[in-house]
């Protein structure tokens, strides 16, 4: 709440470091563990962090400006390129926001397919997170196990929509691709094979004393701070706030499924790790239910070929793997959106970095960046 006055003073020149007690360390944009092109300027006393400042924008592509020059359907593939490890979720959020503007609802079958793919995507995103997070903390092997299992998800994506990463899986009004033959079996097979693998990750990490020591009590965020900083997603839930848009304001067919929202107790890095691991389990549970209950019927609602939503504005958000992903769309009844604002979870979550790492060591900065699960494509857009 209080006005902060302790922003980094980086303008005054650093004395030669033999005389100075403080050290300004420039971490990134080319650094092995800043997950892309994040630049963090650290003010250090020895190895203790006195303050940070994030410099972002190295990956800025002006997505919001591009949107103003594309039709609604044309902009759809661009959203995949924001959070590129969870492209399906991005597409879902965008399609739903435009559908809302058009007052259209996707048919039930499309909704189920969307849920299945989004949850698969959540698993894939969390696997990338787990692999890189473990790599940041020094365990190199989980990365490969995670990517091996993520490969199965990507195969399902490729079979379903023809692309592995930037999927462009959904269209405004539903899905364009019918589930391929063997889709249900593939999904189930994945769930069956994946859960034992998840136990294996846990064997490598959950009880490992080094992992526990490195993550417990590191980067603590209490619920009040989380809410004040607008932090959402697993980071918020690990702080003990049981809030998930899939339950709070169910979109798609999430109300049909029985799943739990894991929450943490302490809001530290270890809790965030546990929450995300459990989220993967719950996602597998949702996928199983959705595959079992996959209804028949059309997969595309009736939307006009040229999408011209009426004048108005709408904000719609979904629970992306990283937090609340919102789209604020202003329509002026032309074929192109007047303005699209993306509320990226990574961007807002990254703001908490400073609060989390003050007083910790340099090694913890790396762990905290990893635990925030940011994707720079989404931070910078």
């Amino acid at each position: 709440m209080s006005e902060r006055t302790d922003y980094l003073d980086l303008d005054t020149k650093d004395e030669t470091f033999l005389d100075a007690t403080e050290l300004v360390l420039n971490m990134g944009p080319q650094h092995p563990s800043t997950h892309g092109v994040l630049r963090v300027i650290l003010k250090l006393d020895g190895e203790k962090v006195l303050g940070t400042e994030c410099v972002i924008g190295y990956l800025h592509r002006g997505v919001e400006k591009i949107a103003e020059n594309r039709t609604y359907a044309m902009f759809n593939p661009y959203v995949d390129r924001m959070d590129y490890v969870a492209a399906v979720s991005n597409g879902l959020g965008y399609c739903e926001a435009v559908e809302k503007l058009l007052s259209v609802e996707a048919p039930p079958r499309a909704q189920y397919i969307r849920v299945i793919l989004t949850e698969l995507c959540r698993i894939a995103s969390h696997q990338v997170w787990l692999g890189t997070h473990a790599l940041d903390i020094g365990a190199i092997t989980p990365l490969f196990y995670c990517f091996r299992d993520r490969e199965e998800v990507l195969k399902i994506f490729e079979k379903y929509c023809g692309a592995r990463l930037t999927t462009h899986a959904f269209r405004i009004g539903g899905c364009i691709y019918e589930a391929y033959e063997g889709f249900e079996q593939d999904c189930k097979k994945f769930c069956d094979a994946f859960l034992p693998k998840l136990d294996e990750y846990e064997e490598l990490l959950t009880t490992n004393r080094i992992w526990v020591e490195r993550t417990k009590g590191v980067g603590i965020l209490n619920p009040e701070d989380c809410i004040a900083l607008g932090v959402t997603g697993p980071v918020l839930r690990a702080s003990g706030v049981k809030w998930d848009l899939r339950k709070a304001q169910p979109y798609e067919s999430y109300k049909d499924f029985d799943f739990m929202i894991p929450t943490g107790l302490h809001g530290d890095t270890y809790d965030r790790y546990l929450v995300r691991i459990e989220e993967m389990r719950q996602a597998a549970r949702i996928i199983r239910q959705a595959v079992d209950g996959l209804p028949q019927g059309p997969i595309m609602a009736m939307v006009p070929k040229v999408i011209k939503p009426p004048v108005g504005e709408v904000y719609h958000s979904i629970e992306a793997p990283k937090g609340e992903l919102g789209y604020f769309i202003v329509s002026d009844a032309s074929t192109q959106p007047y303005r699209i604002r993306v509320r990226p979870p990574s961007f807002v979550n990254l703001q908490a970095l400073d609060k989390m790492v003050r007083g910790l060591l340099v090694a913890d900065v790396v762990a905290v960046i990893g635990t925030l699960d940011i994707v720079l494509g989404e931070v910078d857009r």
Partner: protein
């Protein structure tokens, strides 16, 4: 476009308001979704032979452009959520295929777009009673609530929303540029209350160069969000602790998300200065 939509006959000549009155999704999201499922006829619509695609193209824009305020439907006083489209869409009912041909010519019959409806809730009443005409508008659109307030009192309103009305989570702050208006910018604060499970947008309009008071003191998250608004629109916030560009480099000229910002010129200039050649764009 997929086969399913090719057959869509979006020309609905019915002049009356859509069959299902806008159902504001009340009592939480679950029921809202349910209600919409009942009223939306689109889900199971059969495929119609693709006959009237051109008509559709011609019709929909006219419908949208001439949309006028419709009769107000009772607005929900319960927390509404942006869960599901609650209103049947314009031109979605393939009622009379025969009417497709002349419909395009007739100016009068148009499917009504969803309209903003007044939002009546205790919160609005309280705010109105205190700030009077400062609260210019309180409406719901597609079940989403928003307030339009005067730029002079927006800080007080937001402070009140945070402290008294328990809107403890500032989802997003953004702006929209309307170069033709006198007050060129819409500043949009999207707020959420964990307590009410309710989302409200607070909008205000300001002129170019007009400054707003920062809300960093109310929600810490506003720090970067306001910086981004400054970066993209050039709107300055008084009292912001660190107002500087965030996504663009410090030496950037202009504010890219303004409607009058020329991308090509910037590109050409940059290429010319940095590479010494003419841009290929």
């Amino acid at each position: 476009m997929p086969e399913e939509t090719k057959g869509t006959d979006p020309v609905s000549p019915e002049p009356s308001s859509p069959a299902g009155a806008p159902v504001a999704s009340g009592e939480g999201a679950g029921s809202g979704a349910k209600a919409s499922a009942e009223t939306s006829p689109s889900s199971a619509a059969p495929t119609v032979p693709p006959t009237s695609v051109p008509a559709a193209k011609a019709e929909v824009p006219s419908a949208a452009k001439t949309a006028e305020p419709a009769a107000a439907a009772p607005a929900a006083d319960k927390p509404a959520t942006p869960a599901k489209p609650a209103v049947p869409a314009t031109g979605e009912k393939p009622t009379a295929p025969a009417a497709a041909k002349p419909a395009a010519a007739k100016p009068v019959p148009k499917p009504e777009g969803p309209k903003p409806e007044p939002w009546e809730a205790e919160l609005v009443t309280r705010l109105r009673s205190q700030y009077g005409s400062g609260v210019k508008e309180a409406s719901t659109y597609l079940g989403q609530k928003y307030l339009v307030v005067d730029s002079s009192i927006v800080y007080e309103i937001l402070l009140r929303m945070r402290q008294d009305e328990m809107f403890d989570y500032c989802v997003d702050i953004t702006a929209v540029h309307y170069p033709k208006r006198e007050a060129q910018f819409d500043i949009v604060y999207i707020l959420y209350s964990f307590h009410h499970n309710q989302r409200v947008r607070v909008k205000t309009q300001i002129k170019d160069g007009e400054r707003l008071r920062t809300v960093v003191g109310i929600w810490e998250t506003a720090n970067w969000l306001e910086r981004e608004v400054f970066d993209m629109f050039g709107i300055e916030f008084d009292g912001h602790p660190d107002l500087k560009r965030i996504l663009l480099p410090d030496g950037w000229k202009g504010y890219p998300l303004r409607k009058d910002y020329p991308i090509l010129q910037q590109d050409q200039e940059w290429v010319h200065i940095n590479l010494g050649i003419e841009s290929g764009q």
